[in-house]
Symmetry: C2
Subunit: 161 residues, 2 copies
DNA sequence: TATTGTTATACTCTATAACTATA
DNA sequence: TATAGTTATAGAGTATAACAATA
């Protein structure tokens, strides 16, 4: 299980906190993360293309289709995007009739982003395609390993929590 | 350990291979990967900035500084970049005297990218900074969990192998 | 013919700053 | 004064196509 031990060398050049330096780029979690993500993104975008979506717009649609009724600000926080990027994503989905902006009655500054009936249909199809792509990407992992990966990534991906 | 079970719903809309669809975006490995990578990239770039590097150029420098003596083509494959992107990265590092292009005696089409003495110094400092940033990112994980994450990512990140 | 490196181009993503309307 | 949404812009990353030199 742990045959592939991460090698570290203690280079410790000239100071500071001095964490262990990976002996090889391929022992570097950040590098592996970037590589895995590039792969995942390419597969995801390819799978979503036939539904007119990309990973970014799909994520917005998925959150709108969930039970959260997110504001744009919340979308930005959940997706770790700048609010200005969310504007463009919601604009695009709204033009295509997949989501709508609803004024928040409790705060007239805020828009709640909700999915339309058509958006729900497109989302369901796209989610299926995305799940197939992901299954292919995860094909070499057991179910337990996939879950473990999700757990570990969630703990990385939540620096504030 | 596995308290956080990934929930799946069997939506299966209208056909195809029908993989399970994550019930929530935050159960989606691709999404978690993208989010973790965005975080990692931001931290990495911030840590490398004072050394005049970004994650991409650091990766090229790291491979040049390793024992591989990679050609640009090999760099492209290792980093999963297009060869045309490698040109710009090597150009930049070469202008700054950190790497050099050496004609491959065995294949006059190919350039071997090698680190210079100055490049080696910059790399060592940058690697230390990058390792510190990564340690901060991984602070919530045990050593075993970090290793496990690296192992799982390596298995994802190698679609061809 | 195929491959290595290169140039060019278009598009997407990321990061900031500034503005408006509301709170 | 602070926050939600918006606009604008610049820089970085991604994806293709085409070309010259060499295999």
């Amino acid at each position: 299980m742990f045959a592939n031990i991460v090698r570290m060398s203690s280079v410790d050049v000239g100071g500071q906190d001095a964490a262990a330096v990976p002996a090889d780029l391929f022992d570097d979690v950040s590098f592996l993360l970037a590589r895995a993500n590039a792969f995942s993104l390419a597969m995801g975008n390819a799978a979503l293309a036939e539904h007119g979506l990309r990973v970014r717009s799909y994520s917005v649609l998925a959150l709108a289709a969930g039970g959260r009724r997110p504001s744009q600000r919340e979308l930005a926080e959940l997706l770790r995007l700048d609010p200005s990027q969310v504007v463009a994503l919601v604009d695009d989905l709204q033009k295509r009739g997949l989501v709508a902006r609803q004024p928040d009655p409790g705060d007239r500054r805020a828009n709640v982003v909700v999915v339309t009936d058509e958006g729900r249909v497109v989302y369901a199809r796209a989610a299926s395609a995305a799940a197939n792509a992901q299954a292919e990407m995860l094909a070499d992992l057991t179910a337990a390993e996939r879950d473990q990966l999700a757990v570990l990534l969630r703990r990385l991906a939540s620096p504030s929590s």
